[in-house]
Symmetry: C2
Subunit: 326 residues, 2 copies
């Protein structure tokens, strides 16, 4: 049995989408047990399906670490603590990113030897079915070269255990492919990875090639990774809006849409974060999955799928072993 | 008369596209004089239209500052020097970015008071016809908070003089909108701009909202700005590829394309760097325009258009005055 704790509150769309996602997920996955933390009157639909822990407080979307730690009776804190106390495999939340990541890190503690936890997500690439693992996409505001090197290691272990890539091609995200390009931390990390003969290290990669399917792992500090993530989101949104407008123009363009809607859907599915489901916080003791704040039931379902996969693949222990042996 | 010097060599597509662009541009702009620097036998088509300066060396695409400075007889160095010696208004090149920017900075010198030059480009936004000025998109590998503050000032002056925006809404690119978000330099720059009551300063902006049409100026260090630029390019390319694939599937989808091709063209035009033409190096004595390395004749034509506009709007002197009075 895979056991997942869910913070059912705190997302932009309220607890109903979380309940819907949980019910669908349990229907499709008989080998999963779920505990949901939240206001019990809002979680009534889960009765008989999932255990419910009544949690009266909701962490506001913009809450920082201190505020979360103070809200001991919040669904988020109860979820994290329940995971720890009852030895559950994974915890999922679509609440405040900063709050969730800090609270999870403080409560679950970092894996011995880990300098900083990193938020990792698989991105779609131009090669159908191939994902690239990018980290850190936002757990940190800055990172030292040594931390970047460790992100490379954690990304490699993630790629190996989740995707089964034997020797992941690992790159540093930079402003040029050549050695010597990049912010000072990137240059130094390059040197360290090269000196260490880091298996699979393939140099720098420019942001425009990060998703072309060559890389298995792309490493960035949390600030830069977050800019990468959100620029991609921004352009995809602008393009989608323009495509919609082009098809809505008149009857003929609407007819035109009928012919390509399958292809268009394939495109938007590939790029839709909702299919990815959730990002994982790598480096802490436990599978911590952050779903997008504006998740709908479909996106949250996929976040649960990610949590299950991480538990099945035993990613946390793979990271532990990998760090120990490094 | 607006006087422009062109480095006719060093781009991915050779000198022929540059000659084609120059001839078309001169046809459309009777108030412009052009000097072209390059191998005179390759520039024969320009005879009678533009002055030609024979330059035998070509700067390799990956050349750094030192290599460019050593190649004194290269088309790039000759172009920069000619601009300086003959008091031309602008210089345009589609050669090595790093080499061109450094050589231009060293030869033309920085405007007194400028700490670091910054590469600036207008980006399309969701609001039709509105551009947002983003800097630095790649002249620097790192920037101090004080440099970011000065980029905000130069961006504001650019937006005012080129686009006529009276009080440009100026943002810092960050990983969250709230004060206190961001890399340490961003946080400190925020504080400095706030303390200085910087006119138009509107706080942080996330990468996903940078192109939604709200911002007039977005400030980033050169490394982060370059990641932003290239992530956007990357996703746009992936999406375009997928759209093409969707339309090529069968006869019906091809027919569908006929109906929406106008709308699709509008989209790709909006996002195509070729329409933007070139990025300007702000902060040096002279209008220095960097065209994309893979420019075709159309893109290079637009780079010449940018150079003319910068000269007409007297951007360099506006920056000078603005820095003096700051």
């Amino acid at each position: 049995m895979i056991k997942i704790v869910v913070d059912a509150m705190g997302g932009d769309k309220g607890s109903s989408i979380v309940c819907e996602a949980i019910l669908n997920f349990l229907k499709d996955n008989k080998d999963v047990e779920i505990i949901a933390c939240g206001k019990k009157e809002e979680l009534a639909s889960l009765e008989g399906q999932a255990r419910i822990i009544d949690a009266r407080d909701i962490v506001p979307m913009e809450a920082g670490a201190l505020e979360v730690m103070r809200l001991k009776n919040s669904s988020m804190m109860m979820a994290i603590k329940t995971m720890k106390d009852e030895g559950y495999d994974a915890v999922v939340s679509c609440g405040s990113t900063g709050g969730f990541l800090s609270a999870a890190t403080i409560n679950l503690k970092m894996i011995p030897g880990v300098k900083r936890a990193a938020l990792v997500a698989p991105f779609p690439t131009q090669i159908k079915g191939k994902n690239v693992v990018i980290l850190d996409i936002g757990a940190n505001n800055e990172n030292s070269p040594e931390e970047l090197v460790q992100f490379a290691l954690m990304g490699k272990l993630y790629s190996q255990s989740v995707y089964g890539v034997e020797v992941p091609k690992t790159y540093l995200l930079s402003n040029g492919a050549e050695e010597g390009k990049g912010a000072p931390e990137v240059k130094e990390a390059y040197k360290l990875l090269k000196e260490a003969n880091f298996e699979g290290f393939s140099g720098n990669i420019e942001a425009r090639y990060a998703l072309n399917g060559d890389a298995d792992v792309v490493v960035a500090d949390g600030f830069t990774g977050n800019i990468f993530l959100k620029s991609s989101e921004g352009i995809a949104k602008i393009m989608s809006g323009m495509i919609k407008k082009a098809f809505k123009k008149n009857l003929w363009t609407k007819l035109g849409y009928l012919h390509v809607r399958k292809g268009m859907k394939e495109m938007s599915d590939t790029l839709d974060y909702k299919n990815t489901g959730g990002a994982m916080l790598l480096g802490v003791n436990g599978a911590v999955v952050k779903a997008h704040g504006s998740s709908d039931a479909y996106a949250f379902y996929n976040a649960l799928r990610v949590a299950k996969k991480l538990a099945e693949k035993d990613v946390v222990n793979q990271i532990k072993k990998g760090i120990e042996n490094a």
